[in-house]
């Protein structure tokens, strides 16, 4: 456990030192600023627009963090062959995978929490400016939504770690993870579309395609589970069992991804 934590700390420090972090922070700042200037364009639902923009800005920042910093944190060891040095220490490959995952997770969490602080300032400022248009707004639901944005990236990080253990190049990891993310955020719409009567009339959609989508819906993470933007935007109460189910889904998915990654990684040969 000690070695896992040590590796996590090193990975976290490496991530924090990355200069692209400033770029991501600047981009988020720009988006929050944009939010303040755009809010006035709307007639009434300024609270909704603010929440939408803030959560989307956090999501975009999180994606950039995972894809541009997170992937490098794993791939660097293999690309620069420093992995031999690390694995020569008394540390198993499974521990290595866990350590790397925790390090990136910690790095993404801290970075997003800092951005959340800025986001809260934006929301607070607009709340002060347009109190009449924030009627349904609730900080609690907003924070719940933000927490699940974070959890979404914990899952995505696990996906990234899994693909890093399979592939030999960071570019392939990026392509696979990005593909999984895009499919993961859209899969729910596709699954529910296929269940509608409209889709039943479409002759193009064959039985085999339905089975394929069915299988994919179990293999890929359904990222819509972690999306509480609508609830946060309109102050709709989220039931605790929905929150627990989403959390449970995330934890189990992360465990599956990491154990699969650890298994594949332990059988891999480095030249």
């Amino acid at each position: 456990m000690k070695s896992v934590l040590a590796l996590a700390t090193i990975t976290f420090k490496e991530g924090i030192r990355n200069r692209s972090l400033f770029g991501i922070a600047l981009l988020s700042l720009f988006l929050f600023g944009l939010n303040i200037s755009v809010a006035g364009f709307f007639m009434r639902d300024i609270g909704k627009v603010t929440v939408d923009m803030n959560l989307s800005a956090l999501t975009l920042a999180g994606l950039l963090l995972v894809f541009f910093v997170g992937i490098n944190l794993i791939a660097k060891d293999i690309d620069r062959k420093t992995i031999h040095l690390v694995l020569s220490k008394p540390i198993s490959r499974a521990q290595y995978i866990c350590g790397k995952y925790l390090g990136i997770q910690f790095f993404v969490t801290i970075s997003l929490l800092l951005l959340l602080l800025l986001s809260c300032l934006t929301v607070g400022l607009l709340f002060k400016l347009y109190p009449a248009y924030f009627i349904g707004f609730s900080w609690l639901i907003f924070f719940e939504a933000c927490l699940f944005v974070l959890i979404k990236f914990w899952v995505l990080t696990a996906v990234v770690v899994f693909f890093s253990s399979v592939t030999t190049s960071s570019l392939i990891t990026l392509i696979f993870s990005l593909g999984s993310y895009i499919a993961g955020v859209t899969i729910e719409e596709v699954v529910f579309y296929l269940k509608t009567e409209l889709a039943a009339q479409e002759k193009i959609i064959s039985e085999s395609l339905r089975t394929f989508i069915d299988v994919v819906s179990y293999v890929l993470p359904n990222f819509s589970v972690f999306d509480f933007t609508l609830e946060a935007a309109h102050g709709l109460v989220v039931t605790s069992d929905r929150l627990l189910l989403s959390l449970g889904y995330a934890i189990v998915y992360i465990v599956i991804m990491l154990s699969a990654a650890a298994y594949i990684f332990s059988r891999r040969e480095f030249h």
């Binding site: 364009f41 909704k48 923009m53 989307s56 859209t186 719409e189 596709v190 933007t229 609508l230 935007a233």
Partner: protein
């Protein structure tokens, strides 16, 4: 020397860039004005294309529709059938992406019911909203208003107004308004109450201006109707014409219709205007 050359090239490029940029924006403005209204991707696709940012996409599309309408109004261009189709399908997509978003329902009421002359379309959108914003009294109020004012279906209107009056935050007079509607149908005074509430609920300056004008016209119609009522009470018969009403002293002078029409009196004592309280017939 090489540095100087690079600098010169840079200066020339900058010198060319600015007029080019101005030309580009001008050409874009022209081509946007000339191209038929944009195509709105149906929500079953845009939900997927939003990549989890359905809320943000709904905000963006709403702004796009508002900008489209604003540009047309600003350039004083007439609205064609394509424009209304764009607005209606766009607002439909926006409310599919986020059915709780209140702004599109207000825009639908302001544009589709008032300007496009398609209150049925506005009612369809508003009805979708009532399935989600169940505690918002304004949406059934708008449906009731459209049924009353545009579709002249007083019974349906009364039902929606009664439903709106049951919801939290609704003004107290809605209950009596619903009942009034059921009894009196389309009296001008009922319309006056309705319009006053619409005006209080509207932020959009353009719609406010229109509502205020119509309110003024209705106030005048109510004033004449009241004079007719007094005449009836005293003389036990309705006045034969507007002139008789004037000469008998119940009304000092016939007010000017803000829409430029002539006042017409119906047999049951209701007052209309030949302008029908409209600047121009709505373009469909």
């Amino acid at each position: 020397m090489r540095r100087l050359l690079t600098f010169l090239i840079f200066l020339v490029a900058i010198g060319v860039y600015f007029p080019l940029c101005q030309g580009m924006w001008k050409s874009r403005e022209q081509s946007r004005a000339n191209t038929p209204t944009g195509y709105m991707i149906p929500s079953k696709f845009s939900r997927i294309l939003a990549l989890g940012n359905q809320g943000l996409l709904s905000d963006f599309l709403f702004l796009k529709i508002a900008t489209h309408v604003g540009t047309k109004v600003g350039m004083e261009q007439p609205f064609g059938e394509g424009d209304w189709r764009f607005v209606a399908s766009g607002l439909n997509v926006v409310t599919d992406l986020d059915p709780y978003f209140v702004d599109p329902y207000f825009l639908a009421e302001g544009l589709l019911a008032w300007d496009a002359g398609q209150p049925e379309l506005a009612n369809q959108l508003l009805a979708k909203g009532t399935n989600y914003r169940r505690n918002d009294w304004r949406l059934p109020f708008f449906i009731g208003f459209n049924n009353f004012y545009f579709l002249k279906d007083y019974e349906t209107a009364s039902g929606f107004i009664m439903a709106a009056s049951q919801l939290p935050g609704s003004p107290d007079y809605l209950k009596t308004l619903g009942a009034r509607l059921a009894y009196y149908g389309g009296k001008s005074k009922t319309a006056l109450l309705f319009l006053q509430e619409m005006l209080a609920e509207t932020d959009d300056p353009l719609l406010r201006q229109r509502l205020a004008k119509r309110l003024r016209a209705l106030e005048l119609a109510v004033m004449i109707e009241e004079a007719i009522g007094k005449f009836r009470a005293r003389e036990n018969r309705p006045p034969k014409s507007m002139d008789e009403l004037l000469s008998s002293g119940y009304l000092h002078a016939l007010p000017l219709d803000p829409y430029g029409g002539d006042w017409i009196m119906s047999k049951d004592g209701r007052v209309f205007s030949s302008s029908r309280f409209a600047d121009a017939p709505p373009s469909k």
